[in-house]
């Protein structure tokens, strides 16, 4: 009685196994969680007790815009201590008012510092436009 030759099938299965083992990645993606407010018109969230950080568009040749925290010009090095020194009420919300040409990296760094200083919410304020 002729026997079925299993060798090519096993070769094939081994090749598939190697492909899936190499192509699979189980590592999770690192990121910063952002919960969006409900849809509708933009809200005016600014209150006198909020922390307000204004960032100007970077000057040509520079990568960081000038930052003003509650009317005081501040550098990135001192931002964490300023956030940590804020009152509990101020830590409820940080409002970032930035120009459109500020680099994403600067915003992520500020979000990182705010999270480390236990600021609960971050709001982005932009100039309202008719349509985007």
């Amino acid at each position: 009685m002729p026997q079925l030759n299993m060798t090519p099938l096993i070769d094939c299965v081994f090749l598939l196994l190697i492909f899936f083992m190499v192509a699979t990645s189980f590592a999770p993606i690192p990121g910063i969680r952002v919960k969006l407010p409900p849809p509708g018109l933009p809200q005016s969230a600014s209150k006198p007790e909020n922390l307000v950080l204004r960032i100007s568009d970077p000057e040509p040749g520079t990568s960081v815009g000038v930052m003003v925290l509650n009317d005081n010009v501040i550098s990135m090095d001192r931002l964490l201590s300023a956030f940590q020194g804020a009152t509990l009420k101020q830590k409820d919300m940080l409002i970032i008012q930035s120009g459109r040409s500020v680099y994403h990296e600067q915003i992520v760094t500020i979000m990182d510092l705010a999270k480390r200083a236990d600021i609960k919410k971050i709001g982005f304020a932009m100039v309202a436009r008719e349509s985007i």
Binding site: G31, L36, Y103, E105, T109, D112, K115
Partner: protein
């Protein structure tokens, strides 16, 4: 031989079911670094934003924000968390516009993708 072949078949089935292959964008994206970070399971529907403002969801290029909004609204049911992977030198305006469109499309939770292997692994909830 038979037990080994059984074992290999089981491994093959495991990897076929569990695997999620990574779909890279068609343009380079260098993510910013951050010390605080959460871990998100690798899933489809990552929004890539290049430094020139190019956008793609996985490898589907988007021709503007209207296109993005329609795409996101169509796939809303399958998107638990939209991970925005913007280049560190992309303009903040592009990211905000994309977030606005995601909100309009009904997406409730976003994540800002940061560099893999960077930071110190501080997790914040």
């Amino acid at each position: 031989m038979a037990p080994m072949i059984d074992c290999v078949f089981l491994l093959l089935i495991f990897f076929m079911v569990a695997s999620q292959t990574r779909v890279p964008p068609r343009f380079p994206v260098e993510l910013p670094d951050s010390l605080t970070r959460h871990a998100f399971p690798m899933k489809r529907f990552n929004l890539y934003i290049g430094r020139e403002g190019l956008m793609s969801v996985d490898d589907n290029m988007m021709n503007g924000y209207d296109d993005l909004e329609i795409f996101l609204a169509k796939n809303k049911k399958n998107i638990e968390t939209l991970i925005i992977k913007a280049d560190r030198l992309a303009l903040h305006g592009y990211v905000i516009d994309a977030m606005e469109r995601a909100k309009r499309a009904g997406i409730e939770e976003l994540a800002i993708g940061v560099k893999e292997g960077g930071g110190t692994g501080i997790s914040v909830d």
